[in-house]
Symmetry: none
DNA sequence: TTTTATACAGAACGAACGTTCTTAGAACTA
DNA sequence: TAGTTCTAAGAACGTTCGTTCTGTATAAAA
């Protein structure tokens, strides 16, 4: 946290939670509720500081908008040992923007929901979401999205006696040996899983 | 396009362009400029129709907000045939969709890198990043982050003859049977994996 | 031709807005 | 003890907001 006032990170948290719900930054009056204060002028002072700290900015129409920094998430160091881990995470550690981490080239990246268990030994489960970068070439060993019989299929690219093959990560499924050319749609660059709560 | 009035898609495009620039929907007066008209009442009529068509919605504070449909893109590009499974483009105008998918309450969510293979049968690998929601209670069957010997550990919460235990998803590792109380740090709500490229 | 619907323009209105200024208690300093 | 920040509260103010109602030009329909 780069801002100076001790309670500002608390205010920022509340603002982030509100934004996660409504995807907009409300009026000063509403922000009084969100922050738990009753002074519009103090709300402005808080926003001005968060702006100076780089979490917010304003459009030419003087509308408040979050910056990239606004979406950064704390990343714990797993090797925390001394003291309370919770204290450590609250004060130090890195910050990460999840989308930046997984997506290099937005225009070439798409998300594809995964169906079936054919890659389960690679830790890719039914219901996971694949982050795929579109491109037509891949290397041996890459997990690729190929188009077989008009359907996406996610398999490991391999080569067998001069021919490309698609190898599943599940002994129950058969290796795919395409006749003719193999159409690569993209390669797997990330994986997302969401647990029900 | 599901809306009825012929020029609405043109208005929608202008609105999408504005949003791409400023990441906010401006006032009716400003929208007059954006749309190239001079009537606030007509702006409202347009927004109402875009709302009915599902491109916009309003927060409880009656602030206009774009919906997912607002960001949807035609997926005609690339030589993909009909019958494609549903695909989400990752570039929602540089917006943060993955973040949005995984995180409900930013202030309670923390990312923890995973070390070791103790949960490999659950498809959780060394080097993955766990998305953890901080809370002190969990249900049987939840994958939890517990604090054991001042270290984070990720295990499935279970109960054995009246006592809580932490069950790994790897036969090589032993079940953890904490003596005394078990301190829960949070529960696993998501998983992120990044493949080297 | 007359009527009717469409696609906007324009004015009016009170409510809500953001900004600024003043006030005030609490905490810290000297 | 007296002074001084700091953190808010609160009022005041002119501006802008969204809404509603009415007016109007064009075009299609009758």
């Amino acid at each position: 946290m780069v801002d100076y006032h001790p309670k500002d990170s608390e205010y920022l948290n509340k603002l982030q939670d509100y934004y996660a719900d409504w995807k907009s930054i409300p009026s000063y009056a509403k922000l009084c509720e969100v922050f738990g204060i009753t002074s519009k002028s103090w709300v402005k002072a808080i926003l001005d500081r968060l702006c100076a700290a780089g979490f917010l900015e304003r459009t030419p129409d003087s509308v408040w908008v979050p910056t990239r920094l606004f979406f950064a998430r704390p990343l714990a160091e797993s090797s925390v040992q001394a003291g309370m881990p919770m204290v450590v995470t609250a004060t130090q550690g890195d910050f990460f923007i999840i989308d930046d981490m997984l997506i290099d080239t937005p225009s070439k990246t798409i998300l594809i929901p995964i169906k079936g268990e054919s890659m389960i030994d690679a830790g890719i489960h039914d219901g996971d979401v694949a982050v795929v970068e579109k491109r037509m070439t891949a290397n041996i060993g890459d997990i690729v999205v190929a188009i077989v019989d008009n359907e996406f299929t996610l398999k490991t690219l391999d080569k067998e006696s001069g021919h490309f093959i698609l190898r599943p990560a599940n002994p129950v499924f058969a290796v795919i040996r395409p006749q003719g050319t193999l159409e690569i749609f993209g390669i797997l660059v990330g994986l997302i899983r969401k647990y029900r709560r």
